[in-house]
């Protein structure tokens, strides 16, 4: 939820490496990141710290890869959203998560699978688009 | 030149005992079928039971088609078309559900010369022809059953 972004980010992993020149920090093997109710589990996470061109604010980009990499967050109404895919791109300052590579988003009342899915953590809106001939599959559960 | 006496109608051993049912229980065809079966050593049961196969005479119907007419347009000769529909349901193997019956249908034809001046006599002749057709129908059912597999 919104207050997650004010929380502190902690990152755990077996190995770390840093590429100071390109400002890329890499965490490898059983990486887990958490910030408030947000948690990311993946095999490898690269953090690109950059400056947002127009707001001049610090804006990092987390790029997680795994078989699959998993992102979890609690929504306003307390229910959980889980995004998993081969690759997860999380831009906290833009409130955007993009998952691609047999991506799947599970919520209390729905499960969406497709090639690429983007989720806005602020508006809690997800959009899935399919490329060429595959298609997006959505399974909706009746309201309990 | 290869001819040999016709062997017994070796009804498959599943058909040695069976129940014969019909919508017209005492109809002539049903009685003749029961008679033909017992003459060929088949044990015809009195009451139906699912362990025994059932031969059901569904219908036997006589239709007439005009072949030739008198000058005044009334029918001189008919073709008698005797149609028989029957069903054979094998006994349910223990545990299996009752089997789907197999349906059979055949027709026998005979010519028949009518004469409106002799209605009682001609109707007596018609009954005789009908009985003879039913005899060969009962025989055909028996010969067909000898070839039916489950």
């Amino acid at each position: 939820a919104k207050k997650d972004l004010t929380q502190e980010i902690t990152i755990k992993s077996k190995r770390q490496s840093a590429d100071l020149k390109n400002k890329i920090a890499s965490y490898l093997d059983d990486v887990s990141i958490s910030q408030g109710t947000i948690s990311i589990v993946a095999d490898i996470v690269q953090v690109y710290s950059g400056i947002d061109s127009n707001t001049k604010e610090k804006s990092d980009t987390y790029l997680a890869k795994g078989q699959p990499a998993i992102f979890k967050q609690a929504l306003e109404d307390g229910s959980l959203i889980t995004l998993q895919a081969n690759e997860i791109k999380y831009q906290p300052d833009l409130h955007i998560i993009t998952v691609s590579g047999n991506a799947q988003v599970k919520q209390a009342g729905s499960k969406v699978t497709g090639e690429t899915i983007t989720y806005n953590t602020l508006s809690e809106k997800l959009e899935a688009i399919s490329r060429n001939d595959d298609s997006v599959t959505t399974i909706l559960q009746p309201l309990k | 030149c290869g001819f040999h006496l016709r062997g017994d109608y070796l009804l498959s051993d599943e058909l040695q005992t069976l129940y014969v049912s019909s919508s017209d229980v005492h109809g002539e065809l049903t009685r003749l079928v029961k008679q033909h079966l017992s003459r060929n050593q088949v044990n015809v049961l009195k009451h139906r039971n699912t362990q025994a196969p059932e031969l059901r005479i569904m219908s036997d119907q006589l239709d007439r088609r005009t072949l030739s007419v008198f000058e005044n347009g009334q029918v001189a000769e008919y073709e008698l078309i005797y149609t028989v529909n029957y069903q054979l349901r094998f006994a349910a193997k223990d545990g299996d559900p009752i089997e789907e019956p197999q349906n059979f249908r055949f027709e026998l034809n005979r010519d028949y010369q009518d004469d409106p001046n002799l209605a009682p006599a001609k109707s007596r002749e018609l009954s005789l022809l009908l009985s003879e057709m039913r005899q060969s129908a009962a025989d055909k059912i028996l010969r067909d059953m000898a070839r039916i597999q489950r």
Binding site: A128 | E28, L62, V75, A76, K122, R124, L130, D144
Partner: protein, 676 residues
């Protein structure tokens, strides 16, 4: 026993158009089977906001437990559990298939509404269109400003247009409000409200109308109404409009109870406009009943009355053939015990046309019994005592006719041995008949009382030979079945007995091995003869006769020299005509059959017929036949006939018979019924 259900297919059986029942295939073949209440949607694009409002577009396919929906776009609101879709909607559940432009559905109250829809029922020819269509679990299908028909094709021949049509949830009954019945797009009937059958279940309502025309009655329209009175009783009431004659009412009532069933048919035309001479009603009623009760009893009734002799030719009926010469009036009650049976029968005929009036048999009682016995106990040769008796009282219908009571007994012993390979039936019978005849006209040879006692000895045997043969590389069984019979009945002058139910039987091949050459009992032909005959058949693997040739003849060992109207004087030649019959089924479409009785002594043909039959399909066939009979009701007859019953196209059928009388070079009758 008496003639049983010998009702006839009327020669003018209309070829009712059978609209093939379309069955649509499921939209998605490999759809996942959904058993829970979840909804599975595939699309090119999907978006869900706050897990509540979802939007899909691009080839959207929605699948749930009971239905499948295709659309261009679809919006779903999870909180209200409603969705609506736009663009090329294709909706399908197990009982209906719909194309529409818009759809709004609410899962909560289980209702879907579609706009400008075209629908097709499943497993039922019913289809049509509707401006607004609603499917709901309770109310079924309701169509506003809609049409319903069961005939395929862009412009179906008939359809129902109504402000509202409701088809019940179980899909059996249809209701129409402010309905027009339209025929070729012209409204012919307006009904504020009426119901019609939708499924095959027996449901009261209108059946498909029949339209046709014939030379006898002009344009004919029948609109049958089926009334499902009770599970075991129903009625069909058919107003039958004939442009030349007026409107006839045909009703058929059918009933069924236990092992008894029967029907009452009543056809009534108040006034026949075609007849100027008289104006009384023309009708036909027929009561039929067959049934078994309390195990051993059997009842059979077939009684018909008719207003006038030409009813069948002028108006026709689906009870009888237009050319039938007499109608049955018979009632029979029979008891079947283990060893003996008895039948009581009352019989008369409604003879059409000015023919010799026939005898009423009131009553005719038969009693027969059999008692098997073992011969020389250890052998399994079993014989059978047989006893058959008949008591018949013939009542004359005109005062110059003789009437009579006849008591006949035939008792004796027979040894029926039959195995598949061979059979031998030997019979030793004694026949005794006692007549009481009265109203004998002056100068006739009949006598008041007559006693006739005749023994009968008969041996009839046959052997069946089989062999497997291979023709055109498939396997057949060929049989050769020689038969031989010896029959002895001493000669007795019977000219003092009247003729009540006796006439000469046809002497075709089947008649060769009978023990009588006359029907009935008033004449017992003398016989000291043996009959030989042989039949060869070719049967395919499923026992279907593909070819059959039979030939046989009777050899007389002594000649009968009694002079009698009925005895064809075989003026002491020593053998009967040769009787032969041929049947050949080329394939399931073409069949050839031919019979002949040829008198070799005086080298003329007694009777012959040859027919080529082409079976187009189950209902349609064409037969060309040539028939010659040297003596039919003491006149000779040679005719070539073309019998046809085939559909010209989906709407028109030719049902008719062209008979060319070769003797007098004129066509006796051609009969045409075209129907839509």
């Amino acid at each position: 026993s008496a003639t049983e259900n010998s009702e006839t297919h009327s020669e003018s059986a209309e070829f009712t158009q059978q609209c093939a029942i379309p069955v649509f295939s499921p939209m998605i073949s490999d759809a996942p089977q959904i058993t829970d209440d979840s909804i599975n949607i595939t699309s090119k694009y999907a978006s869900i906001e706050k897990d509540q409002v979802a939007n899909f577009n691009g080839g959207v396919i929605l699948l749930d437990k009971s239905q499948t929906i295709k659309a261009d776009q679809l919006a779903f609101d999870r909180s209200l559990m409603t969705f609506n879709a736009q663009g090329n909607i294709h909706y399908q559940n197990q009982s209906i298939d719909i194309l529409a432009s818009e759809l709004y559905a609410s899962k909560k109250d289980k209702k879907s509404t579609m706009l400008d829809a075209a629908y097709q029922l499943y497993g039922n020819p019913g289809h049509g269109s509707a401006d607004q269509l609603e499917i709901s679990a309770q109310k079924g299908l309701s169509l506003l400003d809609s049409t319903f028909t069961t005939c395929i094709g862009e412009n179906p021949d008939w359809q129902i247009k109504a402000s509202e049509i409701i088809i019940s949830a179980d899909g059996s009954e249809g209701e129409a409000y402010h309905a027009q019945v339209r025929l070729f797009d012209t409204p012919i009937l307006y009904l504020p409200y009426f119901t019609f059958p939708v499924s095959k279940q027996r449901k009261s309502g209108f059946l498909y109308p029949k339209i046709g025309s014939s030379s006898n009655s002009g344009v004919e329209i029948e609109i049958p109404y089926y009334w499902n009175i009770a599970p075991n009783i129903d009625a069909t009431i058919t107003p039958h409009y004939m442009s030349k004659r007026g409107t006839q009412l045909k009703t058929e009532l059918r009933y069924l109870s236990g092992l008894q069933n029967g029907s009452i048919n009543f056809e009534y035309l108040n006034k026949d406009n075609e007849l100027s001479a008289n104006s009384d009603a023309r009708y036909l009623t027929r009561f039929q009943h067959v049934g078994t009760f309390s195990d051993n009893f059997r009842a059979y009734v077939d009684y018909t009355t008719i207003s006038d002799d030409n009813y069948l030719i002028d108006i026709g009926s689906n009870q009888y053939n237009a050319n039938d010469a007499y109608l049955y009036q018979v009632g029979e009650l029979a008891y079947f015990g283990e060893q003996w049976q008895t039948t009581i029968k009352l019989q008369d005929f409604e003879v059409l046309g000015n023919h010799q009036s026939s005898y009423k048999t009131l009553p005719h009682v038969e009693i027969s019994a059999q008692e098997p016995f073992k011969l020389f106990s250890q052998q399994n040769l079993s014989g059978q005592f047989e006893f058959n008796s008949e008591l018949t009282s013939f009542q004359a219908q005109s005062d110059d006719q003789v009437s009579a009571n006849r008591y006949h007994v035939e008792a004796g012993v027979s040894f029926p041995i039959s195995t598949p390979a061979w059979f031998l039936t030997s019979e030793f019978k004694l026949m005794h008949t006692y007549y009481q005849q009265d109203n004998i006209q002056a100068g006739s040879t009949l006598s008041e009382t007559v006693n006739r006692t005749l023994p009968k000895v008969r041996f009839h045997g046959g052997i069946n030979f089989d062999r497997n043969i291979n023709l055109f590389d498939n396997d057949y069984t060929q049989t050769i079945e020689p038969q031989i019979q010896y029959l002895y009945i001493p000669e007795k002058n019977q000219s003092n007995i009247g003729l009540y139910d006796t006439t000469k039987l046809q002497d075709d091949f089947n008649g060769l091995f009978r023990d009588k050459s006359f029907s009935g009992l008033d004449r017992v032909a003398s016989a000291n003869q043996y009959t030989w005959g042989v039949t060869s058949r070719v049967l395919d693997q499923s026992n279907l006769e593909v070819f059959r040739l039979s030939i046989g003849r009777i050899q007389y060992l002594s000649t009968s020299n009694t002079v009698d109207a009925l005895f064809e004087s075989n003026n002491n030649n020593l053998q009967s005509s040769v009787a032969a019959s041929l049947f050949y089924r080329l394939n399931h479409k073409w069949q050839i059959s031919s019979d002949i009785q040829y008198n070799t002594d005086e080298s003329f043909t007694n009777k012959s017929q040859a027919a080529v039959n082409y079976q187009i399909d189950k209902y349609n066939s064409v037969q060309l036949n040539h028939r010659y009979a040297r003596n039919v009701s003491d006149s000779s007859l040679e005719q070539m006939s073309l019998l046809a019953n085939f559909a010209i196209n989906k709407d028109w059928a030719f049902v008719g018979r062209l008979t060319q009388d070769l003797k007098e070079q004129r066509s006796i009758e051609s009969y045409l019924w075209n129907t839509i």
